[in-house]
Symmetry: C2
Subunit: 205 residues, 2 copies
């Protein structure tokens, strides 16, 4: 209790919010949209339902914020800095493809997938998710360009990087019901080689 | 009624079954898993609930059979014969990629997506869908090889064709909440060029 007494109210509130967001992503990934209620999330986060509703007035607020928060964390803090990647060339290209594919095959993608599919038939959710998808898509694309060290001014580079994200999304879906890791390794290796061929010469090397 | 009287009982039963399967895919695509009950499908097919249950004892039976039936139809009857495709080369490769991507961006994929995602959190459905996915995956892969006119004996061909299906799946998902056609065109064109580079020399041309 001494620790709590020393924590300013604002910090405690921020910590509660963070626990709720992380619990919301876990619930979505494990239980799907139907099973993920505010009550279930509050319980997992060790927070009262009232406190959860103080932070997120609606179920849509909570889950949209959760997927956005965890995505932003992965994009900024979760991966290596570009300094830790191999120098530009085949090894770096494959490392970046692996990084992107890992983003799309973990619990975060699973949570986002449940949310997207629910949004297809629930109008109030749909609008929120379309806006979220646009923000996340732009951020991920920008991060991929930076990691690959390419400039999208050159013909075809933009589409090649987009194709990489689309491929990763497809691999994420293929991993939903079974562990697809063994097959995926072959696809990632082959894709990395093709991507390297397409990007070589657009990196200033 | 004269027509009905002339139709043998077996033909009528087959026609009913077919109407149910098609209505089931439409319902899934439009209403998602939650909204797709046997009652809703029977109503859309113009069949009594009892008749629907005679053909498909459980909800899982109906929807699994529906996605399988419509997929098989698209793979065999829906596309052009290989004779209608341009001769092997860049134009054919792009036409085949477009064909595959079209399969993954229509109502059938949307229906399958709702079923897959529901299967992630519903155990009895999960097992059926994993088996279905395996059958459909093998069939689609075989059809893609035939259309592209390549042999998967050569190094990397198998993975390249698999990547094409994974990419198409990702493009299908990107098309769920908004019309992604304009962006998709650029990705399809770029991927077709990369695929053609990778397959050239493995076609016996």
């Amino acid at each position: 209790m001494t620790t709590a007494a020393r924590t300013p109210q604002q910090d405690r509130s921020r910590a509660t919010r963070r626990r709720l967001l992380e619990a919301a992503v876990e619930c979505l990934a494990e239980l799907g949209w139907n099973g993920s209620t505010v009550t279930v999330v509050a319980e997992r986060a060790g927070v009262t339902r009232g406190a959860a509703q103080h932070h997120f007035p609606t179920r849509e607020d909570l889950f949209t914020a959760a997927v956005e928060h965890v995505t932003a964390e992965r994009l900024t803090g979760g991966g290596p800095g570009t300094g830790e990647l191999p120098p530009p060339g085949p090894a770096r290209t494959e490392a970046v493809v692996e990084l992107i594919v890992r983003l799309y095959t973990g619990p975060l993608f699973r949570a986002a997938l449940h949310l997207w599919v629910a949004a297809a038939t629930e109008e109030p959710l749909r609008e929120r998710i379309v806006a979220l998808e646009n923000r996340v898509g732009r951020e991920s694309h920008r991060a991929a360009l930076e990691f690959l060290g390419v400039d999208e001014g050159a013909a075809g580079v933009r589409e090649t990087v987009q194709a990489t994200m689309d491929l990763a999304r497809g691999l994420g879906l293929a991993n939903l019901l079974t562990d697809d890791a063994a097959r995926r390794r072959g696809v990632v290796r082959q894709w990395s080689a093709m991507l390297e061929d397409a990007l070589r010469g657009h990196r200033g090397d």
